[in-house]
């Protein structure tokens, strides 16, 4: 059992899913309330990582992080090294990869809040942002937990993007799923089995939590 790879992966998943709360909420807010006619294009772009082969996604992220891209150059000018094949680069790739798993549950739960509550809040003198903070967010708890847990679990198990963007550097970019692959390659089946079982259990736990919190969502209008 490679604990170094395990903790690296947990750290990566924790950072990515926490950042996705901060990044995903504004995106989901916009997707829920915008009346822009071309909104569907952004929705499709956000959902792309669900259907795109991880290698394709990883390839483009790698190109975007490389020293030929503006982002890569900018990063290099501050830090002195490239983003590719670093933990930070891996985190950025994972953010893109898990984005829909956070944004979609967020947007779905924001959209499920009864519009009558938003109207009532406006009539009681609250601006749209205040209403969002005091009504929409608290009533979307289940969606927020779901988005956090799904993006955590999804990052935990990623393989293709990690390999493309991060390579396989022990202690820096070697995640648990790559470790399993390595162990199988060297015919070390019992170690692979242990690691795989742990990943299976964690994934099951996370999904149980997701379904658990969604069992009793806030009943928004119970008297209708």
């Amino acid at each position: 059992m490679n604990w170094e790879a395990f903790w690296l992966t947990v750290r990566l998943a924790g950072i990515v899913s926490t950042l996705l709360i901060a990044i995903g909420i504004p995106i989901a807010y916009w997707l829920t309330y915008s009346r822009w006619r071309w909104k569907f294009l952004i929705e499709a772009a956000v959902a792309l990582p669900i259907v795109l082969p991880p290698t394709v996604l990883g390839f483009y992220v790698l190109v975007a992080l490389g020293s030929r891209s503006p982002l890569g150059r900018w990063w290099e000018s501050i830090t002195g090294h490239t983003l590719a094949f670093t933990f930070e680069g891996l985190a950025i790739g994972s953010l893109v990869y898990s984005l829909p798993f956070a944004v979609q549950p967020f947007a779905a739960s924001f959209g499920a809040v009864d519009a009558a509550l938003l109207r009532a809040s406006a009539s009681l003198g609250h601006s749209p942002v205040q209403t969002f903070r005091r009504i929409v967010l608290p009533l979307s708890k289940a969606g927020l937990v779901t988005g956090f847990a799904l993006s955590f679990a999804h990052t935990l198990g990623e393989f293709g993007v990690v390999l493309m963007v991060g390579g396989n550097i022990p202690g820096v970019t070697r995640t648990i799923s790559i470790d399993i692959y390595d162990q199988v390659q060297t015919a070390n089946y019992s170690s692979a089995n242990q690691t795989a079982l742990l990943l299976l259990l964690i994934s099951f736990l996370v999904l149980s939590m997701v379904y658990g919190v969604n069992r009793h969502p806030w009943v928004v209008v119970p008297w209708r």
Binding site: A116, A120, A122, S123, G125, S127, P138, V219, W223
Partner: protein, 386 residues
Amino acid sequence: MAVRIATPARSEPQFSTQPLSADLEVRIRKRFSNPEGSFNLNVHFRALAGFTIVFGASGAGKTTLLDCIAGLTDPDQGRIAVGGEDLYDSEKNRNVAAWKRRIGYVHQDLALFPHLTAEENVAYGLRSLGALERQTRTGDMLQAFRIDRLRDRRPAQISGGERQRVALARALVTEPRALLLDEPLAALDRPTKSLLVGDLRQWNQHHRVPILFVTHNGEEVFALGNEVIMLDAGRIVAQGQPHEVMHAPHLETVAQLSGFENIFDATVLALHETRGTMRCRLGTGEMELETPLVRAEVGSCLRVGVRAGDLLLATEEPHGLSARNILSGTIRRLVQRDVIIAAIVDCGGAEFDVHLTLAARDALELVPGKAVWLVVKTHSCHLLAM
């Protein structure tokens, strides 16, 4: 400023006093749709402090009107002002956001915040106040609306009538410049309703703001109204005091809304100017009615509306009555509606709907086919223009 009441009386609700005298001016056009099609809301009125009832069938544009005033939907053009301040003016390109309008709005769904307690719901609109004042005002309002003991409960844990109180208290505590109530009593039983109306009246004695009260219940019009605005397909078809609008309708839509179960085509046969009455023939049949005199010529066509509850029914031909119209007929059907029996009586081609109590049906042994006499007072006949 809110006034802290040291020992609130038990029976008399107490309210903070902040005289805000301002009238509401509305002159708007707005295209809206209901299941029957697309209509133009086109209204122009001024509501003074006190209750103004907005009365009309569903789909008449009542809720669209309130949404426009609250700023939740935009009119196509026109002007909305409270106390002289423009909230919306299409000419000046002015449109104040809903949350800056300070207009209280209680919707039929109430829309209580399900994750907040009754107290937090009521305090919600007092965001800008300091904690102490917010607590004081909320406490006073909870007491005034007799929901003090529910302060820690969530909306799902209290009854329908209590929710209605919380929703009203939540809107009133913000001391709005005008109050919009969209059928707020629709779901309540009668005693609960009148108690709540009493509290609302009490509140408004101190605050004197215009209250637009939407209903399609004729009873509520009489219970509350200083002024009634009757809406039909987006237009104001009648306006005035309740008895003027409801008892002397001039348009058939008004008549149907205000509960004339019986409406007949009639031809004027003779005018009795000295007696203030006239004779009319109903439809194409033989039946004649004496009605109040209106400005009409012999031979002209009118409509007569009679409330089913204003008709008397007898099983023998009555004598010695002051009523001028005694019509013989036969019971066609008896239909029970709640605790009322609707007897459909055929009087020579004209079918009357007569409302009776269950006891009257049993005492008179009424059955379909039985011969009966209907007694119609002259002034129970309301003449409607066609």
